[in-house]
């Protein structure tokens, strides 16, 4: 993975010193609440319902075990012994004290981590395919390019005070696991006709109040122009994005109001001024960055490990887990393992400090000392030998991290919701838990098959409810909490936004509503058809009728 040199380290150290001074001035009354707010937000610090919340950046979801141990230490020392992994591959802590945040940042800086631009109206953490570098369907490893974009975005002087937050995601694989079409900029790494690397650039995707799928504004951008082109997009947005209404301030509204064609012309005209300039990236820099992401020392193994095959045949629980939580690896004899953070009764994405330490120990032993965070709020060991899967599974089970539900209904994406977040209209974690309890029969769950259920506590859509096969949105009706349900959303290269099925429901109705949706699907599905495929084939009406039918 990427390692800081003295230059990267100095940037982070100076940021810690800067924020320490800003915090001191704030606590001394020299900086007003209003003046401190944008500064603390650009360091990931929110003032929440119960206490401040600190969001820490995990660039493109990649972590070393040393970093994970530091996160465990932070949870233990400054918080209540746990952290929460987010849908932007970050981690947040819900109970730190404002005056201790500079110390937390200093601890993070010692392991090449920070909280820069994890919030506020600026370029946020860069996210990418959580299987980058190991997936069989990969064209180009997205990580070196993600690191280049991370460095460009870090403390960019021109773009610290944008109209609104700005999210960029990259993928270099055929299957889009990074939801790039629902980002402000989605960069698909592609190979040109002469074998050269470039980007297909999509702009204006996003969830939130006005969900939209991104528009491709350039089919092929040579890779050396990427920073010039990003500067051009951001400059057009910074100058012309709406600032009069925060709900219309995302770039998607600008793209829509100007039309994608006009927006593209504006960007290309700006690019003409920058093209070939000093920010053009030399080939040597791409090579340098790629040098940080060379494959680890894989052993030469046969494609199929006999002991692994035997264990699958003997042990049904292990086989269930293997079916759901393993993905193929491009190197024979290795597998990608997903650690589920979606155990029923635990808020999705939450991990205790003790679990973090134990996971670090396992990653050191089984997966070259590195791991990933997925935007689905799970952890990933990218490089595990087939022969060691059984032993790893047994230990993960002991930690409560082996729930065999990846891709299934109970692998719920869920924001912190009304229990923690001051923006939320409604609680989301108890809804997730009630649904998980309803679907606790593993055989039924596997029979239902692939299903993304996403819950957001408000229309900011941190839980990505629009792109859930089933999406749940918390809404406020006359001061009480209600839930609006949509179906047919999808993430990835076939991104689609779900359709609302009708009037919203009370919290205690939600497990029944999901049950009725699932029963409808089970009744009318074709062979090999996923829930979302059935919705696409028949529309929402059969589902709607069943859900709103009078009881009995």
């Amino acid at each position: 993975m990427y390692r800081y040199d003295h230059f990267d380290q100095r940037v982070i150290d100076e940021r810690v010193a800067q924020f320490r001074d800003q915090t001191r001035r704030y606590l001394a009354g020299e900086l007003s609440d209003d003046d401190f707010r944008p500064l603390r937000l650009q360091n990931g610090l929110y003032i929440q319902k119960h206490a401040p919340m600190l969001r820490i950046s995990i660039p493109y979801g990649q972590l070393s075990t040393k970093q994970l141990r530091t996160l465990a230490h932070i949870g233990r020392t400054y918080d209540r012994g746990y952290g929460h992994f987010t849908t932007r591959q970050n981690i947040q802590f819900n109970w730190p004290h404002v005056e201790q945040v500079p110390d937390i940042l200093a601890d993070l800086a010692r392991v090449e981590m920070h909280a820069i631009q994890t919030s506020g109206n600026c370029i946020r953490n860069i996210s990418a395919d959580h299987f980058a570098g190991v997936a069989g369907d990969e064209t180009v490893d997205a990580r070196p390019y993600s690191e280049l974009v991370r460095q460009w975005a870090t403390l960019h002087p021109e773009f610290a005070y944008l109209p609104r937050k700005f999210k960029i995601a990259l993928s270099g694989a055929l299957h889009d696991r990074a939801a790039i079409l629902v980002h402000d900029i989605g960069l698909q790494i592609v190979i040109g006709e002469a074998g050269e690397v470039g980007f297909r650039v999509a702009v204006g995707g996003g969830l939130g109040r006005t969900p939209m799928i991104g528009h491709v504004i350039r089919e092929f951008l040579p890779r050396n122009e990427i920073l010039n082109y990003l500067d051009a997009i951001l400059r057009v947005y910074n100058r012309f994005g709406r600032r009069d209404n925060k709900y219309k301030a995302r770039i998607k509204i600008l793209v829509k109001e100007r039309t994608p064609d006009v927006f593209r012309r504006d960007v290309e005209a700006e690019w003409e001024h920058l093209r070939g300039g000093p920010a053009t990236v030399p080939a040597e820099e791409f090579e340098r960055l790629a040098g940080f992401f060379v494959p680890p020392a894989y052993e030469h193994l046969p494609g199929d490990d006999p002991a692994f095959r035997a264990a699958l045949a003997d042990n049904r629980a292990f086989a269930n887990w293997a079916q759901r939580n393993l993905h193929p690896h491009k190197v024979p004899g290795y597998m990608i393992v997903t650690l589920s953070l979606k155990k029923t009764g635990i808020p999705p994405g939450d991990v205790t400090s003790d679990q973090m330490d134990a996971v670090a120990h396992l990653a050191d032993r089984y997966s070259f000392g590195e791991l990933r965070v997925s935007h689905e709020q799970n952890l990933i060991f990218t490089d595990v030998k087939q022969s060691e899967l059984l032993s790893l599974w047994q230990q993960l089970k002991g930690l409560g991290l082996a729930t065999p539900n990846i891709g299934l209904l109970t692998n719920i994406i869920c924001c912190p919701g009304g229990d923690f977040c001051s923006l939320a209209n409604a609680k989301s974690i108890p809804i997730a838990e009630a649904i998980q309890r309803r679907f606790d029969d593993l055989d039924y769950l596997h029979d239902i098959g692939e299903l993304d259920l996403n819950i957001s506590g408000c229309m900011n859509a941190c839980g990505h409810h629009h792109v859930g096969h089933i999406g749940v949105l918390g809404v406020d009706k006359n001061g009480s909490e209600w839930y609006q349900v949509s179906i047919g959303g999808n993430q990835g290269e076939h991104a689609a936004l779900g359709k609302v099925i009708g009037p919203s429901f009370a919290a205690d109705e939600m497990p029944d509503v999901v049950s009725r949706l699932i029963e409808t699907y089970v009744d009318i599905r074709h062979e090999e058809e996923r829930f979302v495929d059935t919705v696409r084939r028949v529309g929402i009406d059969p589902f709607k009728e069943r859900v709103y039918a009078p009881a009995h």
Partner: protein
Amino acid sequence: MPPLIKRGVILDDAYMLVRGAATLADVPEGVPVIVPLALWVAEREALAARGDVGVWLAPADDPVALANDVRVLKVIAIDFPSFTDGRGYSSARILRDRFGYRGELRAVGDIQRDQLYYLFQVGFDAFSLPEGKDPQAALSGIVDFSDGYQITQSRTPWFRRRDAMRGSPQ
């Protein structure tokens, strides 16, 4: 006169910022002035003849309107009614990078020490702080960071310099 930070030094500001001027009659004589863009565009000849007139841009003003004036003007100011409105950062880069403006570029309005580093990097070399803000304290904000990744007024992107330091050809 309010203090002005210019090229790292605290000075008395010789210029008067004329915020509301709609016609030439609103512009005081005998003192160097900074007038709104709209007035400059309307009365360019007369104002340029004075030799002591600068222009200020509001966040929504298009710096392209000054494309042909960058050799004439000695002072261009960009207003930040609120420091969270970052349009002026892009206006500054357009004036400096695209049009090669080399005169004084000053930031006025709601700017404080915590914005000075970014402002300096995009090309501002003068800062007129709001009343009551200590310019001495603000000065230190310019050097919050000793270096950065991106191309700015004072430097090329770090990846170019790192390779140059190694002596490899570009």
